[in-house]
Symmetry: C2
Subunit: 222 residues, 2 copies
Amino acid sequence: MDSQIRLKTSTLADTVFDQIRTAIVKGELAPGSKVNEPQLSKQYGISRGPLREAIRRLEGCKLVEITPNVGAKVVSLNLEQAIEIYEIRESLEGLACRLAASRASADDCLKLRELLANHEKQIESENGRLYYQKEGDLDFHYLIVQLSGNTRLFNFLCGELYHLLRLYRVQTSSGPSRPEQAFKEHHQIVDALENQDEELAEILMKRHISGAKNTLINQLNQ
Amino acid sequence: MDSQIRLKTSTLADTVFDQIRTAIVKGELAPGSKVNEPQLSKQYGISRGPLREAIRRLEGCKLVEITPNVGAKVVSLNLEQAIEIYEIRESLEGLACRLAASRASADDCLKLRELLANHEKQIESENGRLYYQKEGDLDFHYLIVQLSGNTRLFNFLCGELYHLLRLYRVQTSSGPSRPEQAFKEHHQIVDALENQDEELAEILMKRHISGAKNTLINQLNQ
DNA sequence: AACAATAGTATTGTTGACAATATGAATAAA
DNA sequence: TTTATTCATATTGTCAACAATACTATTGTT
């Protein structure tokens, strides 16, 4: 009866954690900038106690770095670090895609197709190109990781790594590469999922992400 | 000049975080048990402020789960969750081993051989069998992940996942499987590293970890 | 002018007190 | 006996004040 009331119960530290996290990944809190406790506590209308707990959670997500007696600053990713993240992502999403191939139902695959169709429409529309790069691409990957059935994998990828990637994209204001190519690859991946071809699904996904990684590496070599 | 003094500077929250973490992975704080703030703050002689920050860091490591207005409890892993972790570990250590194969120097490989030789001696000694299983095995993997050169990968595996595995082993008091087999596989892996054979190194490492994973899966099917 | 020392300010670290919520026991009703 | 209800207690959430440290600007010296 009061379950609905219980649901909206949440602590100040948690809500302000969400707020600051979105502020960071949106770039409203600039990468490398200092996290000023008195200022933020005023801004969000809370005391420093719960704010510091929120900052510690952000530290756990690797979104801020804390130096004792100095404070926290918003993390700033350089190219090498971004490549490191892509290496991890390639490996883990390959795993996720393999697991998804063994577990996804026909209905799940249909949902993926619908998702891609929606994105196609968005692309055809005016500023769709931007939309697709910013959010749509992640939606696809998000859903596949969910289909893997590995909850911990989902939490790590969707609760931590993706936020870091969004941060990097905002930081470098990179909305790049190869939307039509990526699109084709997405469909190939769903094909493999439909056929329950685990090996192929993993290979295609790894190759898909490796493409984005190589774009970064080329940037590194100028 | 005062750099040595600076080194010992650390916050209460950080030191007590270390203490509680080791208490958890050693099993001194039982899995599933409640984390009582007044009790712990008394036990460690600090106030609840920094203690709560430490708990939030533990939440970030997935070692405790926090429910608003109820509190934190030490995480308790069931078999399914342990398998999820092993799936992730297999994927990531495969990656680490591949990277290590491309980067490890001859000197690095020598260090690995020495490590294995030391473990052999330990095994031959009385209670060595136990030692090897508990720490020695992780040392080997630890070093390879370090050789991968991917700092983020290192932090995730060695700063989070390994602690969870130790927790599970303590929880199920499992000091199991196939030390002599594992030993042989370790040497094969170093062979591949010496030959800079990235593919083989990755495959061997994944197979090595998959063995432990399958042991768990068999437990699941009884 | 450049560098070192120092004083003042701002920020972080820590604490104890208070408010809000949950837990558990005792009582009352079915 | 079992189920609700109420009350007392314990624990968590939040706050504001104090202590300790780091940062900044000024001064003084070479």
